[in-house]
């Protein structure tokens, strides 16, 4: 299959906490960096898609970036906001409607676990009042059931978190840049059994922007284009186990991650065995464990062996979350999915510095998961 859409410019505002700098301001920094990387101005762009969860409407960024009359469409899709913006840009270019545009994801959240109003999810107030409306609980119960099903030991969860902090220490744009030992991670406060504090990511701040164009025009902007070979989004099926579910069906079905990953590999005509570097949603370390298999990158129950042999390390045969993932970068909801794509572009260009995967990776995979049971995936090649 031919590649039809290219990423020719990338920009990021460092993740973490930036007191006194609004989420919108961080978005502008990322957008200007992406434009400079592509060697274009905002006036050259024909479209924009963007969004944030808590930091304002993306389309208002034109007051700072330039009042050029371009169509700027806001995207609001929870953790898949960045992925959905990217899918929209992909469709805009593939349809022939536009040749050059930008996607922007940004956010700035308060400290502490997210608190969500059940009414926004069509759930009664009792669910929040009695203390059930917490994403942290869902991840605790999903990994508990998964470890029971696969027979893996919970000790693998500390290993995954330790890798995240180790990789974050190598990434100048990451938030958590200090390695933590497995013992420190295991001894941190229990948030939601069996998951401790340092196994979880935290709400944070940050912004990412990507400039995209028709693939046959990519060389006008860069001599190292990266091609977007597929971008997919799926919602949950009857029988899957998702966050904010007062009930589950007894009959079981695949998660939206399985559906979105399968679809993106089909769309790209690339197999999971061809992936050289993967960025997977690691809201907590159990999520990375489960998502390794749900995406098809390995078999269920095979993960602990792969992790023990170092396969998911930067120098391993299946490097996962090479920039430190959500655990080391925090999760600004609107920006998180695009951070994964940014990291894979760095990797495919060979520009990732201290966290570069050796051997010249050619295929990069990204995956996000979030409420209310959605997943978005991308495949990049060079």
């Amino acid at each position: 299959m031919s590649a039809d859409v290219a990423i020719v410019g990338i920009g990021i505002h460092p993740f973490g906490r930036t007191p006194g700098v609004s989420g919108r301001r961080q978005a502008v920094v990322a957008a200007r960096a992406a434009l400079a990387d592509a060697g274009v101005g905002f006036a050259d762009l024909q479209f924009a898609f963007g969004g944030s969860h808590s930091a304002g409407d993306a389309d208002t960024l034109v007051s700072e970036l330039g009042l050029t009359s371009l169509p700027f469409i806001n995207v609001a899709n929870g953790c898949a906001t960045g992925g959905s913006a990217l899918i929209s840009a992909y469709a805009a270019i593939m349809s022939g409607l536009h040749d050059l545009g930008i996607v922007i994801g940004f956010d700035k959240h308060e400290r502490g676990a997210f608190n969500t109003d059940p009414a926004e999810h069509g759930i009664g107030a009792w669910y929040g009042e009695t203390g059930l409306m917490l994403t942290t609980q869902f991840f605790g119960m999903k990994i508990q059931r998964y470890l029971h099903r696969t027979g893996m030991d919970a000790g693998v969860l500390t290993k995954i978190a330790a890798k995240a902090f180790r990789n974050g220490a190598l990434n100048p744009k990451a938030w958590r840049r200090t390695p933590l030992s497995e013992a420190e991670i295991a001894a941190s406060p229990m948030i939601s059994h069996p998951l401790t504090q340092y196994m979880y990511c935290s709400p944070a701040e940050g912004a990412v922007a990507l400039v995209l164009c028709r693939a046959d025009r990519a060389h006008h902007y860069t001599d190292r284009p990266v091609f977007l070979r597929g971008a997919t989004l799926r919602s949950r099926r009857y029988g899957s186990f998702e966050v904010f579910s007062p009930w589950l069906a007894i009959e079981r079905a695949d998660s939206p991650t399985v559906d979105a990953a399968r679809a993106v590999f089909e769309q790209a005509g690339i197999g999971p065995d061809e992936v050289d570097v993967a960025q997977l949603q690691d809201t907590e370390s159990g999520a990375e464990l489960m998502h390794m298999a749900e995406t098809g990158l390995c078999a269920h129950g095979e993960q602990d062996g792969l992790i023990a042999e170092g396969a998911t390390e930067i120098g391993g045969r299946l490097p996962v979350n090479t920039d430190g993932g959500c655990i080391a970068n925090g999760e600004p909801i609107g920006a998180s999915g695009l951070r994964q794509v940014y990291e894979n572009v760095l990797q495919l260009r060979g520009d990732a510095g201290a966290h570069q995967v050796p051997g010249g990776p050619r295929v990069g995979f990204t995956h996000v998961y979030g409420a209310p049971g959605i997943s978005a995936c991308t495949l990049l090649t060079r």
């Binding site: 502490g112 676990a113 608190n115 109003d117 059940p118 009664g124 107030a125 009792w126 929040g128 009042e129 009695t130 203390g131 059930l132 409306m133 917490l134 942290t136 609980q137 605790g140 119960m141 999903k142 508990q144 059931r145 029971h148 406060p189 229990m190 948030i191 939601s192 059994h193 069996p194 998951l195 009857y238 579910s245 007062p246 009930w247 589950l248 069906a249 007894i250």
Partner: protein, 139 residues
């Protein structure tokens, strides 16, 4: 008696039960009640009392005091949360009366209880539902 939401409950000869919906077309169950069937996409849902006993499907323990809208008592104690499979109906999420993870295991028999949750401004206890380890088979 005051509960967190009276529409969640119904009286049965065996005691208070949760009330869910059952699809008259395909037999799918939901909790709480809803109008549309998530399985066959139809709209023939009927109220049905849910089983009062089941088995623990998964669990965790809430280790920190949640932000609002959590409305629990001022003194926070970690509480168990789990999914309980009600045979041939549905798996429901609920608080658990047991908060020690070493005393919970997937597959253990559980029974529904109404338990005190908080006290309202008038001093009236507000009850919610929780599943407790079934005594006769508990460890």
């Amino acid at each position: 008696m005051r509960t967190v939401d009276d529409s969640l409950f119904t009286d049965t000869p065996d005691g208070v039960a949760l009330v869910g919906s059952r699809c008259a077309d395909c037999g799918a169950h939901t909790f709480p009640r809803q109008g549309g069937c998530p399985r066959c996409t139809g709209d023939s849902m009927q109220d049905v009392p849910l089983a009062r006993t089941g088995t623990l499907w998964s669990f965790t323990v809430q280790g920190f005091r949640p932000k609002p809208p959590y409305a629990g008592p001022p003194e926070f104690e970690p509480y168990g949360v789990g999914y309980v499979e009600l045979p041939e109906q549905v798996i429901v999420e609920a608080r658990l009366t047991e908060s020690d993870p070493d005393r919970l295991w997937i597959g253990m028999p559980m029974v529904l209880e109404l338990v005190p949750f908080r006290t309202d401004d008038a001093g009236t206890p507000v009850l919610t539902f929780a599943f407790a380890p079934a005594r006769e088979e508990g460890r």
